[in-house]
C-alpha cells in the first residue's frame, strides 16, 4: 500500500462529531430522504448494557466491542439511555435526551470513555461518499481514555495528533496494511499492530476504545459497504481490425460519387438546353 495516498487529516480538522443539540442544523439533507441509518458502537470496557431508545428497550445485553445496526431511524429527536442489563430505564447509567437525528445521514453513535475515563456518548457522521475505483476509505476514531496518538501503517505515521473524541480519515489503495497506534510523536505502541483488510469500495471505521490506565485499550471496527465507483472506462483494443462503421475514404468516395452525378447531370441538362 502506498502511504502517499493517505490524506493526512489533522485530528479535529475533519471531525464529523456533532454536538447533539446542533444536529438540527444539518443541511445536506435531501427532502425525500427522511430516514437515517444509525449504528451504535459500544466502547466502554467491562460494561454490558441494555440500550433504550425513546423508553423502549432496543438492545438487550449489548456487549463492549459490539456494533449494532444500522437501524433506519426517521428524522427526529430521540432519547437514548443505557442501563445495566435488566435494570429499568429509570436507573440509566448514561443518557442523552432529545438527540437530534437528521434525515438522510449515516450516523454512528459511540458509547465510550472520554480522555479522562468518564463514560460518554458521541455521535459521528459517517462519510459515505463514493470512493474512486480501486480505493477504500479508512476512518480512525479516538474514543479511548488515552492521550493524543498517531496511527501508523507499515510503521509510518499516517494520521498524527489524534485526540478523543475526534476522527481522521483518508481514501487509500484497497488492500491489506499492518497498522498500529502509538502515543503521539513516539514509538510507544498503545494498540496493535493488527492487519487491516481495507476492501475496495468500503469504509472501514476503526474505533480505539478502552482505557490506557486500565490497560483495556482495544479496537472496534465497523464497515460500510457499497461506496464503490465503476472504472473510468474499458479500453480494450487499438488495432482497428474489428472496426465497424466506415472509414475516411468512404466519405471521399461518396463525395466523389455525388459530385460526378451532379456534374454529369448539369452538363447533360445544359447540353440539351443548348440544343433547343
Amino acid at each position: 500500500m502506498k502511504l502517499s495516498y493517505f490524506r493526512r487529516v489533522a485530528a479535529g480538522g475533519a471531525v464529523a462529531a456533532l454536538a447533539f443539540t446542533g444536529v438540527g442544523s444539518f443541511t445536506a439533507t435531501p427532502a425525500y430522504a427522511a430516514t437515517s441509518k444509525v449504528s451504535v458502537v459500544h466502547g466502554i470496557p467491562d460494561t454490558p448494557v441494555d440500550v433504550y431508545v425513546n423508553g423502549e428497550k432496543t438492545l438487550d445485553n449489548f456487549k463492549p466491542g459490539d456494533v449494532a445496526g444500522p437501524l433506519n431511524l426517521e428524522e427526529g429527536a430521540y432519547d437514548i439511555a443505557l442501563t445495566k442489563p435488566g435494570e429499568p430505564v429509570g436507573s440509566a447509567i448514561l443518557k442523552v435526551d432529545n438527540a437530534a437525528v437528521p434525515g438522510g445521514a449515516n450516523i454512528s453513535i459511540a458509547a465510550h470513555l472520554d480522555a479522562a475515563g468518564q463514560p460518554k456518548i458521541t455521535p459521528f457522521v459517517n462519510d459515505v461518499s463514493k470512493v474512486d475505483a480501486g480505493k477504500a476509505r479508512l476512518i480512525v476514531r479516538h474514543t479511548a481514555a488515552a492521550p493524543e496518538v498517531d496511527v501508523r501503517a507499515g510503521g509510518t505515521p499516517v494520521f498524527e495528533g489524534l485526540t478523543n473524541p475526534n476522527e481522521a480519515k483518508g481514501d487509500v489503495d484497497a488492500g491489506s496494511v499492518q497498522a498500529d497506534v502509538v502515543l503521539a510523536g513516539t514509538d510507544t505502541v498503545a494498540i496493535g499492530p493488527a492487519d487491516l483488510n481495507l476492501k475496495e469500495g468500503t469504509a472501514t471505521i476503526v474505533y480505539a476504545i478502552g482505557s490506557a490506565e486500565g490497560k483495556t485499550l482495544d479496537v472496534v471496527a465497523q464497515t460500510i459497504t457499497g461506496l464503490h465507483s465503476a472504472p473510468g472506462g474499458v479500453p480494450s483494443g487499438d488495432g482497428g481490425q474489428a472496426g465497424t462503421g466506415v472509414d475516411t475514404w468512404w466519405y471521399g468516395l461518396t463525395g466523389a460519387g455525388v459530385l460526378l452525378l451532379l456534374g454529369g447531370g448539369v452538363r447533360m441538362a445544359s447540353a440539351r438546353t443548348g440544343r433547343k
Binding site: 427522511a34 451504535v40 458502537v41 459500544h42 431508545v53 425513546n54 423502549e56 432496543t58 438492545l59 449489548f62 466491542g65 459490539d66 456494533v67 449494532a68 433506519n72 426517521e74 475505483a133 480501486g134 491489506s176 492487519d195 487491516l196 483488510n197 476492501k199 469500495g201 476503526v206 479496537v219 471496527a221 459497504t225 457499497g226 465507483s229 465503476a230 472504472p231 473510468g232 472506462g233 474499458v234 479500453p235 480494450s236 483494443g237 487499438d238 488495432g239 482497428g240 481490425q241 474489428a242 472496426g243 465497424t244 462503421g245 466506415v246 475516411t248 468512404w250 460519387g257 455525388v258 459530385l259 460526378l260 452525378l261 456534374g263 454529369g264 447531370g265 448539369v266 447533360m268 447540353a271
Partner: protein, 220 residues
C-alpha cells in the same frame, strides 16, 4: 449523342458506381443490432430494500472485529465454444494513471475485475474484459465477441476448479462516452457475468474504438 453528352453520361455512371460501392461498404460495416437490453437492465436492478421500519425496530448486532479477507473465487479460465475461444483469466484492477480498467496487455488473455464479485457471489456482476485486437499483437481473445447471440453458452472455471455454465441473454453496443458502467460494475442485482471489449468505428489517428461491446450472461 454529342461527345459532351457522352462525357456527362460517363461521369454520372462513375458517380452511380462510386455511390453503389459506398452503400455496399456502409451496409457491410453495420454492426449487429443490440439484443436483450431489457433483460440486462432488469438483471441490474437491485433487490428492493425493506421499507423504513417503525421508529425503533429490532437491530442486528455484530462483534466489531476487524474485517477479514473475503473469500472470493476468481475466474481463471473462460471458454466460449461458439467463438472457439479458450482464454486464461487474470485478476486485474485499475490503471493508476488512467483510472481505467486494467485489461491484460497480452491480447490472448483476459482480465477479471478483482474488486467486484467473484464466481461465488450470489449477487452482482462478475466483469471480464479482453482486447478485441491490438496494433502490435493482432486479433485478441474477444475479437469476435460481438458475434455472440442470445442463448449461446459460456463456461467460466473458478480458482476452486469448478466449471460454471452461463447463458448469453444480451449483447449491446455503447459509445464509450455513454456506456452505463455503474450498471455493469454493480455489486448488487441478480448474479451475472459481463464480458466487455471494444468495437464500433475505429479512429486510426487516436487508435481508439468509439464503442464498447457488452455481453451479459446469466448462470445457466
Amino acid at each position: 449523342m454529342t461527345v459532351r453528352n457522352r462525357g456527362a453520361l460517363a461521369a454520372m455512371a462513375a458517380g452511380v458506381a462510386a455511390l453503389t460501392v459506398a452503400t455496399l461498404v456502409a451496409c457491410g460495416s453495420q454492426p449487429a443490432d443490440d439484443v436483450g437490453t431489457e433483460e440486462a437492465t432488469a438483471l441490474a436492478s437491485a433487490t428492493p430494500s425493506p421499507p423504513a421500519a417503525a421508529a425503533v425496530p429490532s437491530v442486528p448486532v455484530t462483534t466489531g472485529e476487524l474485517p477479514a479477507d473475503a473469500a472470493t473465487v476468481p475466474p481463471v479460465r473462460l471458454v466460449i465454444p461458439q467463438l472457439d475461444v479458450t482464454a486464461t483469466v487474470n485478476a486485474v484492477g485499475i490503471n493508476e494513471r488512467t483510472d481505467e480498467f486494467e485489461v491484460p496487455p497480452s491480447v490472448d488473455q483476459i482480465g477479471w475485475y478483482r474488486y467486484g464479485p467473484g464466481l461465488e457471489a450470489d449477487a452482482g456482476s462478475v466483469v471480464i474484459a479482453g482486447h478485441v485486437d491490438s496494433a502490435k499483437q493482432g486479433k485478441g481473445a474477444f475479437f469476435r465477441l460481438r458475434e455472440l447471440d442470445q442463448g449461446d453458452t459460456l463456461t467460466a472455471t473458478g480458482s476452486d476448479g469448478r466449471a460454471r455454465q452461463y447463458r448469453v441473454v444480451a449483447r449491446e453496443e455503447y459509445a464509450k462516452t455513454k456506456i452505463p458502467l455503474d450498471r455493469y460494475f454493480a455489486r448488487d442485482g441478480k448474479p451475472r457475468l459481463t464480458l466487455i471489449t471494444c468495437g464500433g468505428p475505429f479512429d486510426a489517428e487516436t487508435r481508439r474504438y468509439r464503442d464498447n461491446i457488452v455481453v451479459t450472461a446469466v448462470p445457466a
